[in-house]
């Protein structure tokens, strides 16, 4: 199966290891991976801020960049949601409407792609050898549920999964919100970090680069001993595709 990787701008810039893990997993399960280098951002920050002209323009680009591929896979559920749910809305009635609809239909978040398209049982493959807690990203909602995520974690590998009091509590990132209302964003962040710390685990599974940027940055500012990993990284490590990283 030929798959185009939509790595997303934040993962590209800040978390290339997540992109590597995603690529290696797809290859491991038999896909040929392509990376169209013209890809940049799907326009999510502009869309969420109400800058819909800009968002539509970037989305039209993305539809063009990925038009040759039947399968587009991304490590970010929120970018997948932007493309899948808001893309067709944004470009409705424009000449790019059909392209937006087909990009929407072709784009999948990595973990759901592994499960639904490649029929891989993630939980059976995962090996987590330290206490682990997790963050359920708000914008994963359209891709996978909290129960899905918990299921992946507590499958055969996750002997010591510590569920935070409110695992779906927002980290406070919110795109432009994080820099437009920094004190407020940080207030949300502190509530989130308090709950993670209370679990006693140091490893936090977080599948969203934006949430990781926020939580890891906040944890470091507060001097908290938390480390963040995408489930794709954990899985690639468990399969021996990536060197374990402490």
């Amino acid at each position: 199966m030929d798959v185009a990787l939509f790595v997303t701008c934040l993962t590209d810039t800040f978390y290339p290891r997540v992109g590597r893990a995603t690529t290696l997993l797809l290859r491991h399960f038999g896909c040929r991976v392509h990376f169209p280098p013209e890809q940049t951002c799907c326009g999510q920050p502009a869309f969420n801020s109400g800058f819909h002209r800009e968002a539509a323009c970037l989305l039209r680009r993305m539809a063009d960049v990925f038009r040759r591929y039947e399968h587009v896979v991304t490590p970010s559920a929120s970018c997948a949601t932007l493309v899948r749910r808001h893309g067709p809305e944004l470009l409705e009635g424009t000449p790019a409407a059909a392209a937006a609809r087909s990009l929407a239909a072709n784009t999948r978040e990595i973990l759901t792609f592994l499960r639904d398209e490649l029929h891989v049982d993630i939980s059976g493959l995962l090996r987590l050898d330290e206490p682990v807690t997790f963050h359920y990203p708000c914008h994963a909602r359209d891709a996978y549920t909290l129960d899905d995520l918990l299921g992946w974690l507590v499958g055969s590998g996750g002997r010591d999964v510590r569920v935070p009091r409110h695992p779906d509590l927002c980290c406070g990132f919110g795109g432009v919100f994080a820099v437009e209302y920094p004190e407020l964003s940080a207030a949300l962040l502190h509530d989130k970090l308090d709950e993670l710390v209370a679990t006693g685990a140091e490893l936090v599974v977080c599948n969203e680069a934006a949430c990781t940027l926020q939580m890891a940055g906040g944890a470091r500012r507060r001097g908290l001993k938390l480390r963040f990993k995408h489930l794709a990284e954990c899985l690639a490590e468990s399969l021996g595709l990536l060197e374990p990283q402490a």
């Binding site: 790595v7 290339p16 013209e38 801020s49 109400g50 919100f177 209302y181």
Partner: protein, 464 residues
């Protein structure tokens, strides 16, 4: 309300530990109570869908249902008034009170009367007005404002409540909730004995029968509609539901969403004034239907906001509300629903409120009538885009331009890596420029040496 004053208010709000501690405790308690009670409710999702469907259907056919409702209220012996705006509503109610020589008004909790500032108007017309909901009573004696649509004093702790009561009633200071409640009840019983005007809102108006439905927890609602000789109910035109049989759908959801109770303690149905031979009920029933911008909202960008049943679940679920409290919104309607409703009801001075959200969607998940609040917030953001500060507009359109040029984008990744200061461990602690607001609160990782696209070129692309 300028952006500047909003920022100043937010800065104060996020630093008010006493209020935030009270709000955190209360909202989490309600979120957990709601979750527990929904877990017990069979077919909860089906009920939410049904409720949303009924609300949508009603609002799409509102003129017909309003006419039916008005005709049935009149047939049951009530009188119907229509108020275009807040001033008209106050005038109608004050006029009928003054003409009948009414002196003492008791009120059960009503957001709609808050919206039109009815208390001030009645007092100016010479009436004494007493709030009979415990929370609203404390707001009133403390000259405060409600900060939550269901739990008006969610921002107060028991010490503040005790102090307010001791001062207003001249009683002994106590913090014991049971004792506080007893004192207020005693005080209010006397007021109920003497009152001549009862003012309520309504949770629902049933078109088929002309019935008003009130859901309360303290029994004050039914005393307000039975004891005084005149009962006035003020309700927004969106409060109509078509049939009596639709009511249980909402009753099953409303209290569960608000407080986690399976039902409100008292569900009061009022059809017309007291009939011959009946023991209690008012001589006159007046129903005032309030538009106050609602017709305009129905034809605007976010008509779904009128599906709201004012349960307050979105406030409880919202991490922003939890971290600023209700007063920071400076609107009768705070929280996610208020951030949509306030700019639509009151205009541009509230148009920054929709931006006070991380769009986490906890509100939409909690909403009993499935209002997609994040989608509405985004729609309102789009509407105020041209009035955003020039610097922000330039930055966002400049950023979008950059993202249309992959090579410049790749170059900017390198520049960011080169220009960000490094504390020696790969993190920037303080930067200037557009990211200064990031590092005011959190560290920023320096972009990894080798972006993914570089990594791809160097080693990953061998297969393709």
């Amino acid at each position: 309300m300028s952006r500047h004053s909003l920022r100043a208010r937010l800065a104060r709000a996020v630093a008010d530990d006493r209020v935030l501690q009270a709000v955190h405790l209360a909202t989490w308690r309600k979120v957990e109570a709601r979750a527990a009670s929904f877990a017990q409710l069979p077919h909860a999702e089906e009920l939410r869908r049904r409720a949303a469907q009924i609300r949508r259907h009603t609002l799409e056919n509102l003129p017909r249902y309003l006419e039916q409702f008005a005709a049935r209220v009149q047939a049951a012996g009530g009188q119907v008034h229509v108020a275009c705006g807040a001033a008209a509503a106050c005038r109608i109610i004050c006029d009928l009170a003054v003409r009948r020589g009414l002196k003492l008004a008791v009120k059960s909790k009503s957001m709609t009367t808050e919206e039109v500032h009815l208390n001030a108007a009645l007092e100016a017309a010479g009436l004494r007005v007493v709030e009979t909901d415990l929370g609203e009573f404390i707001v009133q004696i403390d000259h405060d404002r409600p900060s939550h649509i269901i739990t008006p004093i969610i921002h107060k702790d028991r010490r503040q409540v005790g102090t307010a009561l001791a001062r207003a009633l001249g009683c002994r200071y106590t913090e014991d909730p049971a004792e506080l409640t007893r004192l207020v009840r005693q005080h209010l019983r006397d007021v109920f004995r003497r009152c001549d005007l009862g003012i309520t809102g309504a949770n629902f108006g049933i078109a088929e029968t002309g019935t008003l439905c009130l859901v309360t927890n303290e029994g004050n609602g039914r005393m307000t509609v039975t004891r005084p000789r005149v009962h006035v109910a003020l309700l927004g035109i969106e409060k109509i539901i078509p049939r009596l049989i639709d009511l249980p759908v909402f009753l099953k959801l409303l209290a569960r969403s608000s407080t986690g109770q399976p039902m409100g303690s008292y569900t009061t149905l009022v059809t017309g004034p007291r009939r011959p031979g009946e023991h209690d009920g008012p001589d006159e029933l007046h129903v005032v239907l309030l538009d106050n911008g609602r017709s305009r909202i129905l034809s605007g960008p976010a008509p779904e906001v009128l599906h709201c049943v004012r349960c307050g679940a979105c406030l409880n679920a919202c991490p922003v509300y939890r971290n600023i409290g209700g007063h920071a919104y400076e609107s009768v309607y705070p929280g996610p629903i208020g951030s949509v409703l306030s700019p639509l009801l009151y205009g541009p001075q509230y148009e920054e409120l929709p931006r006070l959200s991380s769009l986490c969607g906890a509100c939409a998940s909690a909403c009993p009538v499935q209002i997609d609040l994040p989608a509405l917030l985004v729609r309102l953001r789009a509407r105020s885009r041209e009035r955003q500060p020039l610097g922000k507009r330039l930055l966002l359109s400049g950023w979008a331009w950059l993202m249309r040029h992959p090579r410049l984008y790749a170059l900017s990744q390198k520049l960011l890596r080169e220009l960000l200061p490094d504390d020696g461990a790969g993190w920037a602690r303080q930067v200037v420029g557009p990211l200064a607001n990031w590092t005011s609160q959190r560290d920023l990782p320096r972009p990894a040496p080798g972006s993914f696209r570089e990594l791809w070129k160097q080693e990953l692309s061998d297969e393709t």
